[in-house]
Amino acid sequence: MIWSIAWKNVWRNKKRSLVVIVAVTLGIISGVLLVGIMEGWVKQRLNDAIYNEISHIQIHNSEYIKNEEIDLTVKNPNEITRSIDTLKELSGWVKRTKIIAMANTPWANTGVIIYGVDPEKEKKVTELYKKIVKAGGKYLDVHSPGDLLISDKTAEILKLKQYIVTDSIIEELRQGKVPETVLAKLETLKDKRFRSPGDFREALRMKFSRKELDRFGVRITGKALDYRIRNKVMITLSDKEGNPIQGIFRVCGIYKTTNTGFDQVSVFVNAQELADLYGGNDILTHEIAILLKNIDDAGIVKEELSRIAGDNSVGTWKELAPDAAMMNDFMVLYYIIFVGIIMLALAFGIINTMMMAILERTKELGMLMALGMNRRRIFLMIMLETIFLTAVGAAAGMFSGWVLTEVLGRTGIHFTGWGEGFEAIGFAAKVYPVVTPEFLIFTTIMVIVTAIISSIWPARKALKLNPVETLRTE
């Protein structure tokens, strides 16, 4: 009956209870969404780091880590890859040549790391082949000589990401119902080639109003974008003797990941063509990247490979991308901090509401004590009321938060305006929130604990009431 009385007491003052319930609901929704966004970002960063950049395990010459010189190759790479092939945890592996170089076009130059890879084997280890941008050519092909795969960022730096407005583009925009007034202004930019996004944006700003740019700017920029596929790029690097050597490649494709830092420096060519350039009979192996079926096997596989690696060093993704590893490991701390702060705020609201309820029911509580309800039952009743009040809001909040996160997890949240900043540190501009069952369980426990702690002060206040005095009150 105490449970029944406590539940019914929650609804005595419906408005007041609903205010608290809505506050708890909104608090939980924001907590779930906030953590969901963090979790989504961390998972995305980790996923992108592993599937675009570092894989699960990499093997290098021990000296190469400190000093990335061309002659510091992996020792006995074939023996190592034969052992890798026997691993039951294996998904794929690839050998890479990795040399610091300079990339030049007629308009700009930039420092890069040039990777010589086997394109087909590379597809089994990274997903770069899926990251080719629209109208950005194609991935490396072993049958297509002289191909160079560069990033959107590198293309921008080398002035290979250009913009031009043509008649056909204007016609496409007309069919896309862009107003004639806008198209008339665009005509004045026709056939002019802009060699950087900044130059094109500036030209548009000079021609169009803010409102026109907000409405049509993205569409115009998208249509006018012209990657200079098949443009020549001169690669300059040093051979084993330190002599500078140059080779001409042609851009075959433009890729884009969520990590601008990685994109900016990484260009890819066919391993054999790179070997031909530096004059080696063999393809130099500076790195062996290994992808496993399950990320959790990285530690075990590292131990196994370390036994046969000899003078080479074997590193897991945690050592190769410590930022992503740290974020992953610290998620539990984030849970505690975010949810803890929300619970603290909620606790004050709950305590205030319950204290008001006790004050209003002073006479009733005195009567219950007079009739023979002992202190334990009074305490239990107050505590249950507090728990019920909190639990209703928490259940509504967690369900709504979960639904919202699931929906946003499919559609994604696009942080327009901050995209470049996020990508500079390896995070996607579009995040897909995700909530784990562990987090929902953790939050449920925190809610119950908060309710119990919040009930102590009001319950103690109730227990201190003197039935004789309270029964006299009006």
């Binding site: 009956m1 009385i5 009733e364 009567m367 004789v468």
Partner: protein, 228 residues
């Protein structure tokens, strides 16, 4: 058989400004099935005496013995339990639990005492019928009149078959018709259930129906009259 004994009971309130001798050397005995009224002017100590008898307050000196148990010898938790099992209360302002129905209010005491459900239900229906509310068992207090609420309070007080019932001004908030009906019901139950009723009252109707009238003045018993 003595249900209640008060032996030289005193209650003195010592505030910083004044010392109040609310109950002054009261010695009384109550037998089974008595229908007694404690009367006196305001401030005579009626409510204080009832609070002492009910174990809600402790005497400064003297003894209160209920069916052989000395209240002052009981620890706080045992006193609460003793009160639950042996004493029924009817308050001036009904004091029903507003979120419970009439049935739930009556069976509340029996639930605290862990009566089996079947017996609890039977006793509840029997009492509510006895007080004339057999057709309102599922009504909440807000749907009942003052008189009906007080009848539910009487049924609740009787629920666990206590040794006696203390009623502090039970008719004060009722109209005359409701008050008369309530008193008749209480008199009938007193007769049928053989439970002692002790009233604190100003109501002449209660005094008229009481079999024993104890008059208090300045905390002392100045008369104790029994009617045949």
């Amino acid at each position: 058989m003595k249900v209640l004994e008060l032996r030289n009971v005193n209650k003195i309130y010592n505030s910083s400004e004044v010392k109040v001798h609310a109950v002054n050397d009261v010695t009384l005995n109550f037998a089974e099935a008595e229908f007694a009224a404690i009367v006196g002017p305001s401030g005579s100590g009626k409510t204080t005496l009832l609070n002492l008898i009910g174990g809600l307050d402790m005497p400064t000196s003297g003894e209160i013995i209920i069916s052989g148990t000395n209240l002052s010898g009981l620890k706080s938790s045992k006193l609460i339990d003793f009160r639950l099992r042996n004493i029924g209360f009817v308050f001036q302002s009904y004091n029903l639990i507003p979120v419970l129905t009439a049935k739930e209010n009556v069976e509340f005491i029996m639930t605290l005492q862990k009566w089996p459900k079947k017996e609890r239900d039977e006793r509840t229906i029997e009492l509510l019928r006895a007080v004339g509310l057999g057709d309102r068992i599922h009504s909440r207090p807000s749907k009942l009149s003052g008189g009906q609420q007080q009848r539910v309070a009487v049924a609740r007080a009787l629920a666990s078959k206590p040794k006696f019932i203390l009623a502090d001004e039970p008719t004060a908030n009722l109209d005359s018709k409701s008050a008369t009906t309530l008193l008749e019901i209480m008199e009938t139950l007193n007769h049928e259930e053989k439970i002692t009723f002790i009233f604190s009252t100003h109501d002449a109707r209660v005094v008229k129906m009481a079999h024993r009238i104890i008059t208090l003045e300045d905390g002392k018993v100045i008369s104790d009259d029994r009617r045949e």
